[in-house]
Every structure is written in C-alpha cells, then in structure tokens.
Symmetry: D2
Subunit: 390 residues, 4 copies
C-alpha cells in the first residue's frame, strides 16, 4: 500500500472552535479515505497556558504562540483560523500571501470590506480557501441539497429558517467578547444568522434583497474577569462594572431570492428560552417539502406530493442510512452522530478539494456573499426599507 | 329547575362555515351550562337547494332565502353571518340597525373602510358583536393567554407564527371565489394571516408597524362551473377559460408590538406542501416559552426557565386536562377534541356575554384592529418600507 | 327528495357513555348520508335526575326509567346499552328476545359465559348486534386495516400495543365501580386491554394463546358517597371507610396469532403517569410498519420499505385527508377531529348495516372472541403458563 | 503540571467494535480529565490485513496478530475484548490469569456457564472488569438513574422496553456469524435484548422471573463469501448455498422485578422495518415517568406528577445541558453528541475506577446477572411457563 501524501495543518486559536477543529482533523484520517493524509502539526494560541493544557491532549505534534512564525515555515500547508472574528482578516491575508491554504471560521470578518479584502487575497495567491459554514456538512443538508439539485422539490416557494439559542437570556449573564461590536462585528445576526443565510444560499439561491428588524433586549451586561474568550479578555477587564451591549440580541428579516419567486424568512436570536441550539430550516416547493433542525440532526422531514392519496405525510428520514457518503464513514444506520462530526466532514471535503478545481465546500466567495446579505440586513434595520444585496 | 331564557339564532350562509356554526350552536346547549339557551331558529341562504338539503339535518327549525326578512322578525336575537366575505358589511350593518346581536365570520370585511363602518354600526346600535377568530378558543390558546396574563412567560421577546396550507399548490386547482379580490379582499393574508395576526394581538399585544412581502405563485387559474362557494359562483362563470388570480398566495411580514420590544414574524401561505392546516405560533419570553399548532391542537409545548437544571425541556402539555373550563365540558383527559369544538366554545362565550359588559371573545373592534394590520401589510408590500398600523 | 326510512333509537344509561352515544346519534344524520335516518326516541336511566338534566339537552324526544318497558314498544328499533358492565347481559338478552337491534358498550359482559349467552341470544333472534369497540372507527385504523387487507404491510412480524392511563395513580383516588369485580369483571384488562385485544384481532388476526402477569398496585381505596357511576353507587355506600380493589390495575401479556408467526405484546395499565388515554399500537411487517396512538388520532406513522434509499423514514400520515370515507364527512384536511367522532362513525356503520349481510363493525361474535382472550389472560396470570384461547 | 500515570491498552478485534473502542480510547484523554492517561498500545486481530489497514489510522502504536503474546507483556495494563462472542471466555479468562484489567464487549459469553467462569476468573485474579453495556453511558440514562436513586420517580410500576432493528428483514440478507448459535449464543435476545435487560437491572432492579416467546421469521439464509465478521468467516464458507438460522430473530418477554411489584415487558427484534437502532425504554412510577430512546439519545421525556394542574405534560429534557458530568466534557448545550460518545464515557469510567473500590460501570457480575435472565428467557420459551432467574 503506497503511502499517502501528507498535508500539514496548523490551527490558530485553542478555545472552543480550536478544540472542535482539532477533533475534526483527528477524525478525518481515522474514518475517511481521503486522497491525502492530514498531519496535525502545530496548535497555535497567544496564551501559552492553553497550549500547555491542550496541544498534546488534542493530538498536535507541536505548539506555538506566534502565528506569524507559522507562515514562514515550509512544512505548514494549511492554516486553520479559529480565533475571535476580529483577527480573521489579518491572519488570513498574511497566510494567503505566504501561500498557505486556508480554513477560516465564520463569519469570515466583522465587515464586508474586510471580507472582500480576504477574498481578494486568496484569489490573488491562488490558494484554497474554505469558510466554516459547518451546517452544510450535516448529512441531512447534503441529502436535501442533492434533492434540490435533482429538482425533487420542484420550484421553491418558501425558505423559512430560525436559528434560536438561549444562552444569554439571563440578565445576569456577563459581558463577553461576542457582545461587543469591535470584537464580533454583529451579535446574533453574524454569529447564527450567518448560518441560516448560508444555508439559504447553499440550498435555494442567493438572497437579492432584504427587510429587517434588530433588537438588543438587554442593553447592559456586568463585566467579569472570566471572559469565555481568551483573546478578548484583556480588553474587557475594566474598572467599571457594566458595559454596553452594542450588538443585536436578535435579528429577523425577510428576503427575496435572485431570479426566483421564492419568499424567505429568517429569525436569528439568542433569546428563545428552551432552544439550546435550534437551527431549523423549512423549504416548501411545488413537488415537496423538507424540514430539518440541528437538535435532531440525524433526521429530516420530507413530504412528497407524489405519495399516494391517503398515505401522504411528512416522512422522518434517517439521513445517516447506508449509502450516504458521510454516514458510511461512521456507524451503522440508527447509530447517531453529533455536532462534532460536521467538522470532520468539512475538513474531509477541504483536503479532498486540494487538487480539484471545483470546491465541494463553502469558499471565501460564499462567505463574502453571505456577508453582503448580513450587511444589507443591518442597513435595512436602520433605513426601515427593503435594501438590495450588493 | 327554572327554565332558561332562550335566545333565537339565525345563521346566514349554508356552506362550509354555515355548517361549522350550525354544529357549534347545536353543541353549546348539550355540553355547556350557559345562562341562556340558544335555539336554532332559521338557516338562511340564497340557494334553496342548500336549505332543502341541510336545514333540518343540521337542526334548524326553519329556513329562509331572504336574510332581510329575518331582520324584521322579533323572534330572532342573533344573526350569525357565514357568507363569503364581500357580503359581511351589508348584512352586519343592516342587522345592527335592526338591533340584532351579531356573530360574523372573519375577516370582518374586505377592506378596512368597510370594517370600520361595521364597527360604527354595532357601536351605535349597542348590540353585541363577535368576529369569528375561532382559534382563540382552542383550550391551549386560552391556557397560554392565562399564563401570559399572569406574567408566567415574563417579558415577551418573540412572537413567531406561520399559518401554512397547501390546498392550491396544484396549478390545475381551479379558480374559486377565495382567489378573486372583489369577493375575498385578499388571499392568504386575509384568510389565514388574519388568524395569526389576531392571535398575536390577543396574546402579546397590538402590532404597531410592519414590513412585508406578498407573492402570487400561480397567476392564472382555470374557470370551472363548480365553484365551491355558491354565493360567488354565478359571477365567475364566464366564457373565457382562464382567470387571473388577483390576490396573494402567500404573505410574509415582520412586526413590532406597541409599547414593547417584542419582535414578531408572520408567514401565511397556501403553498406549503404537507401542511394541511398548520396554524403554528411560538412565543419566547424572559421566563419561558410556548409553542402551539392547530394540527396538534389538544397540546401545547411549554418551556419553564425555572425548571431545575438538567431537567429542563419543552413540556407537551395536555391542554384539555381536568380543570380547564372548556375541556371539562367535553370528555375525560386524553380523549381529544377537534376543530369543530373551537366554534362551540366561541358560541358559548358569546351567549355568556350577552348580559355582560366585558366581552370574553373577539369583538368587531378586535377585528378592525386586525384589519388595520392587514391593510398596513398590503401597503408595505407595495411601498417596500415599514408602515405604521393606523 | 324521498324521505328516508327512520329507525328509532333508545339509549340505556345516561352517564359518560350515554352522553357519548347520544352525541354520536345526533351527529350521524347531520354529517353522514346513511340509507336510514336515526331518530333519537328515548333516553333511559334508572336515575330520574339524570334524565331530567340530560334527556332534552342531549336531543332525546322522551325519557324513561324503565328499560323493560322500552322493549315492549313497537316504535323502538335499536337498543343501545351504555350501563355499567354487569347489566349488559340482562338487557341485551331481553332486547334480543324483543327483536330489537342492539348496540352494547364493551366489554360485552363481565364473563365469557355471559358474553356467549348474549351472542346466542342475538343469533337466535336474528337481530343486528354491535359491540362498542370504538377505536376501530378511527380514520387511521380504517386506513391501516385497508393497507393490511391489500397486503401493503406484507407478512406481519409484530403487533405491539399499550393502552396506558393514569387516572387512579393517586392513592387517594376513591373506590369506584370500575374497581370492583362484581360490577366490572376485570380492571384495566377488561376496560382498556379489551380495546387493544380487539384492535389486534381486527387488524392482524385472532390471538390463539397467551401468557401474562396482572397486578393491583393499590389494594385498598377509600369509599366515598360520590361514585362516578350512578348504577353502582348504592351498593358501595357502606359504613366502613376502605374497600378492597379486587380487579387488576395493570395487565401485561404476550400472545401468538392463529396460523401465523406473529408475536404480540400487550400492556394495559391505569398506572402510567402522563398517559391520559394513550392507546398505542405498532405493527411491523415484511413490507412496512405502522404506528398509531389515540392521543394523536388524526395521524398515523407509516414506514414503507419500498421508499427509495436515503429517503426512508416513518411518514406521519394525515389520516383525515380528502378521499377518506369518514373524513370526508367532516372538515377539510388538517381540520382535526376527536374522540367523539369515533362513535359517530360507529353508529353510522351500524345503521348502514341494518339491511346488509356483512357487518362492517364489531359484532357480538367479535366481542366474545375478545372475551375469550381476556379470560385466557386471567387464567394464565394464575396458572403461570401459556394458555390457549378457547 | 505533574505528568499523569499512564495505563497501556490493547484492543483485541479490529472490526466494528474494535473501531468503536479505538475511537473511544482516543477521545478519553482529549475530552476528559481522568486520573490516569490511557495509552493506545496495541491493536490485535488474527487478520493481518485488518491491522495493516487500521492500526495506525485508529491511533495505535503497535499491532499484533497474537493476543496470547499480549498477555505476557508487562507493558499492557488493560485488555479490551472486541472479538465475536464465542471468543470472549477464552481470552478473558487468560487475561485475568495474566493479571490484566479487562473490558469485554457484551454479551459476556454465549452461555451462562462460560460467563460464570469468566466472573470467577476475574474475581480470583482481583483484576478490574467491565462488560460493555454502553447504553448505560448515555447522558440521559445517567440522569434517569440519578432521578430514580433520589426517589424522584417514586415506586416504579412499569418498565417497558423495546430494542428494535431492521437490518435482516430482507430475506436475501445473507448468513452472517450473528445468525449462528455457535458463534453468537443467541440472536436478537443476546445481542440487543441483553441491552434492555441490563438497562432494566441498572435502573429498576433485578429481573426475578420471566415468561417469553421467541421466533425465527426467516429460517434459512444464503451463504456468501463476505461475512461481515472476519473471525467467523472461515467456518461459514461451505459448499452448500443455504444455511439454517439457528438463533432467534425476535424475543419478547415479561418479567417481574425482585422485591417489587414492578411489571416489566421486553421486546427485542431485528424485524421492525423503519427501526434502524431503536432502543427505547419507558418507566412509570408513582411520582413520574421517563421515556428514552437511542435514536433521539440527547433527550429524554420526563413527566412530573407534581407539575401544576393544566401545565402537566411530558418534558423533552435536553440531557446534555450544562452541569451534566458527561456533557460538560463535550460541546455546549444543544450541540448534540452521538453513539460513539457512549463508549468514551464507558472507558472514562473504567479508568477512573482502576483505583476505586466501587465500580461506576457494569462489571462481569452485572453481565452474569444479565445472562441469567437471558437464559431464563430461553428456558421459558421452551417450557412455556414462567421461569425463575437463578
């Protein structure tokens, strides 16, 4: 058995997303038969303590506090950016210039301007680039994409999505970097609204115009020492006790789809008690309908208008059945997978695509297109009218 | 046992809604102990054949093809209007002038102007008036109303509603009166969007402004002889084969609630395959959340933020349990009720209210307020900006 | 329009079941087009107060405290028995002798011996007879029966049923007639186990042998004045405070199906907190599976092994869709029906069958066959081995 | 940071379960903070090709085709047995004699006699021992166990379980080692019935007696070259085309619980179309009820009889919420986990227990007790009467 070519990976950022990606890189080679073998070379973070605690545990060969140094190394092929949002552009642009392939968590950047600059950088450098819209990689979403491509849902009338969470409903929940515009760009909109926007564009088509409302239900939050995001922690340790939440707690918007009659509704909120991480989409078309939500991610509902009379109904499809390209890599049908597996699928597609023209994953271009929508949503919330996505 | 005072009822309109109301009037006295006893006096329709077929079967003492004659009779106390929408104003205003108490199916009228005139007429006449927003009378909705009144959900962040049907998805489904503006006012918006708008206003508060999109997916429908609505049938029998659908197939809108930070999203559509009559609302508040849909109407989901850690989750509450004022009238817990029971509750509340100041049911004023919202939705769809509800 | 032949009905028993049947008789003519018209002639009960309160309200022309007198009247065609179980045999046998057609609530009798005598009486008299296994009349059950008859489920491997309630879990719930052997025969077994046994026999085949366990979790109950069943109330008003529960609170049993390899499991219990009236069956066959429960009675789940790969799953079929013979009588698809409608279907089938050879409803013969199974279950619980159903 | 003590692991068997366990061992150190660090030393299988393909990929330092050689090595602390069932006793007994701690997949052995010998061997050797009843390690099951221990469900009335699969419904599915008694002991009973029996004993109490039925729906299967289980493949490659299935396709049984009035029903089947891996338990107690199934493993349903009137219902509890000892190791609430995580929990508990007296996992003693029940079930199926579990 000829040995596979290896590609060396460095992850920048050793918090929540860094852990998620580390786990994904580790699983790829064990479960999938990709044309190349990813090697977990370096875990990088500015906090040495995080590296000490995690680098070896998570399976990395080395660790580093200097992401710039990584770019100078010849033995690093892929830079995988898992830092807070505001650092994405600087790292990505530098990595592109250094000729590294890039994985970057979403949202690509805190502004459309920066995101566009990133896209230009990767295009110019000719490197591969992926933005982490992980939910595309749910087996059910892939099945739905496949159905839509084959016209099994017919003409799409409605896309209806809600991404609901409840982790900050408590007014005593403290200030964190995800609630400050300078670190995160926007609130629920950019964090989770981005996911349902991307799913819409992946499955149904580009959003061409939007109207919206945004709201911050709790305007001030107490500042504590223990910010959950290490990168931002320093700047929020201030003497005063309360800080202003300057991003949205919730964003709702309507959209039209380019060159189609499709109506789209979106709701992104961190104020839906009981919804821990409820990312739910509904698609209604002339031949049938599908419904999916992340909390029940191994299944999706499918209504087929061609089913016989008196036997029609939404079918709870087991997405991970035998024959599904992702599911076959894991366990037998009915032996469920979870959130972390989405990331393994994502990294698998990325390394499969290193030698291909066509990306089977969300590129920076997709992320920029998503950012355009989000920017239009913010604009519409202020202008109080429909805004074109430019 | 002293005999109860009787109130005599006449229903105008012997099609679908006439049947629904007849059944409801029949059930009230059998199952509820109201202070007065409704007597099913006259069923009225302009089609003699409908009366011949149905008047006795449905339990009516008499029948008539002349609704005006009913108004002159002293022995009719309540006029219950179940005709197509465009006839509501004429009949209601005349009935008010004749001093009759009035039940009128929704939407109250095809325009805000007419609806307002109707409200003025009943106010001037001092008669009791109810508009048939029947879903208010689901036991679950009453329980939710009660919870909100008691502040059990806290401050409301989100109201999210969809009323989805699929009866005209087939492009071969023919032209019917519900698809012509002059007979029906608007399409999905007025027919089913009205219900979720009313539920929002009943449960959460008045909608103060809206932004929207409306769409007609299938622009032309074949004309047939057998319109399902007798009243409009004559006028639609024309020589040409196709007729234009001039009302909306779907309407989506966002709203703000008066004097609150609540965000509201609405979707009313007849183009959601698999959704036969899916009237679904979600309410998220600072203390908890509730979710209900008509297709599973005996239950609602309730999330209580005060439930103990690790035992939190949406609870599928059996709304018709012992102790519920409506449910107790019917069967033991778990022995479900259905769509038709909503109307019995509605008529029960109306006759209970004949001697009371405070209406425990939707009045013409509520219906006018609903109409204001729908009119703002239509305006916003054209102006492409947020419109105040005036 | 020629007037339909009328058939005159008398219901004996004006408590819960009497009300349910009265409501059903009233609905039949309004909603169904049967070949004859049922006339609600007499409501009979030994308690005059119940008749005073209910006879007119429920739509009866007359009332009577003497069921024997009814049998002598020429103008009564159908005797519908809704008394406590122990009175069924006497009334039914006398009614048969008097040439009346008979509807009798289930269980037919408190013992197989009595049930058999009843069957003999109706056979000898040549009258029509139906036993009230109402769940057969759920639209979903009729659809499932139809599927099985057409071999759409293939060879049946498993029938798995549970009928769970929770109305007596509270140890302070008082003694009632349903907990005394002499009034009721058996407990959960005869009351609700009978229903799932009948559904098994209706859908899958006769139970040929059983093994079982029965349990009385709460052995003594406090005696109160207000027994819910009027007929038995007198005898339970005793001086002592506690009375022994001498029937089963729960019965579980396994069965084999005649001339088949099918395995059947049954659970009937009044001790399942949260299950108000959860009558649930699952059927697994070589071509597909179905699942239904009464608390969600408008739907059933259907798995079709022939569905395409990667689109397989249980389909939540809307049983009451257009084209279903029962559903078409009521409301449009998605406008749900409830428990009481089962009884209207039942009475409809009975009067349709008055002139037919083949009964499209459960006869006394079916009820006797059910009783044989229940008797074998009781025997097996004592013998502690498999018992043949004789 | 002091380095943790390491324990060296060898897995024997490189098929499905070997992969599952390898993945689990790999995850333990990354996600949990156990007192010792497991080192993945050797993967062992008699098929060199499986080792070549998998050993490195799955994270093992070495590979070996000789399990006996492993026992002689001082640097192996834990032997984890993932071979087909019939090899468990020989390997386990030898490993015990060699002083190794032992993890063994379930069922422990193909007969009670062998299982008992295994238990004696580990007891004599004084080594730690765990049998892989992995479903105990679902976060929901741990929560339910905790609730029962705290008496939150009160006295248990009913345990009702079904473990349903459908992978051999197709009559063309070929002969595999899991369908031959000599390799597997029993069929559905030992493979999946063992899991629900163990869950009953873990949660509710020991089964003291049983009555049962077993069935083989498809009696002969075609023999192919590609048995899915490598260990047994050789022996089943015979010249004739069909081979007899000599184990059960389904087993149903009733049970009584030791020193309690609890009734238990069990159904284990590979013939339930649509049920890919549906392991479902229901527990009804005097204070409340719980329901869980593996296909929706991140949640369980909980009914609390103390919930307020009119707000009662089954609550869909998110088991993996903040504060759950297993869930905290993974992702935020609502970010689901899957089947493979159960095994990580299992290995975590085992290595945590290496220095403790009390096992927080299923021991060989638990497995023997389970085997006793299974053996009584088989006996009862033949004797056709209730059999004591001895």
């Amino acid at each position: 058995m000829a040995k596979k070519k290896e590609v060396n990976v460095a992850v920048v950022g050793a918090s929540f997303m860094g852990k998620t990606h580390s786990n994904a890189w580790r699983k790829v080679d064990m479960f999938f038969d990709a044309p190349v073998k990813p090697v977990m070379k370096v875990l990088c973070d500015k906090e040495q303590s995080l590296l000490d605690a995690n680098a070896e545990k998570w399976g990395w060969q080395e660790s580093s506090t200097d992401w710039k140094a990584l770019l100078e190394r010849d033995d690093i092929d892929i830079i995988d950016i898992c830092t807070p949002n505001f650092l994405h552009p600087e790292i990505a642009i530098a990595a592109a210039k250094a000729g590294k392939h890039i994985v970057c968590e979403k949202p690509l950047a805190n502004s459309l301007k920066e995101a566009t600059a990133m896209q230009k950088a990767v295009d110019k450098a000719g490197v591969k680039h992926m933005c982490g819209f992980s939910y595309r990689f749910a087996p059910a979403i892939q099945s739905i994409k496949n159905m839509i491509d084959k016209k099994q849902l017919g003409e799409i009338f409605h896309f209806r999505a809600a991404y609901q969470q409840d982790w900050i409903v408590d007014p005593d929940f403290p200030m964190v970097w995800r609630l400050k515009k300078k670190h995160t760009g926007s609130g629920a909109l950019g964090d989770i609204g981005a996911h349902i926007t991307d799913l819409c564009q992946f499955l149904v088509g580009d959003v061409s115009e939007v109207t919206s409302a945004m709201e911050t239900f709790i305007k001030k939050r107490v500042v504590t020492d223990s910010d959950t995001g290490a990168w931002a922690a320093k700047s929020s340790k201030k003497s005063k006790v309360y800080d202003t939440v300057d991003v949205d707690d919730a964003a709702i918007f309507l959209g039209r789809i380019k060159d189609a009659n499709t109506l789209a509704t979106f709701e992104a909120t961190r104020f839906a008690p009981g919804r821990r991480n409820y990312n739910c989409i509904e698609i209604y078309g002339s031949k049938g309908s599908v419904i999916w939500n992340q909390e029940d991610m191994n299944y999706f509902q499918y209504f087929n208008r061609s089913d016989p009379d008196l036997l029609q109904g939404f079918r709870r499809v087991s997405a991970c059945d035998t024959g599904h390209p992702y599911a076959d890599a894991w366990w037998p049908p009915g032996h469920t997978i979870g959130y972390e597996h989405l990331f393994a699928h994502e990294m698998y597609e990325f390394i499969c695509g290193l030698k291909k023209k066509k990306a089977n994953y969300p590129t920076f271009a997709d992320a920029v297109q998503c950012q355009r929508v989000l920017e239009a949503v913010e604009k519409a919330a202020k202008s109080r009218k429909w805004e074109k996505v430019k």
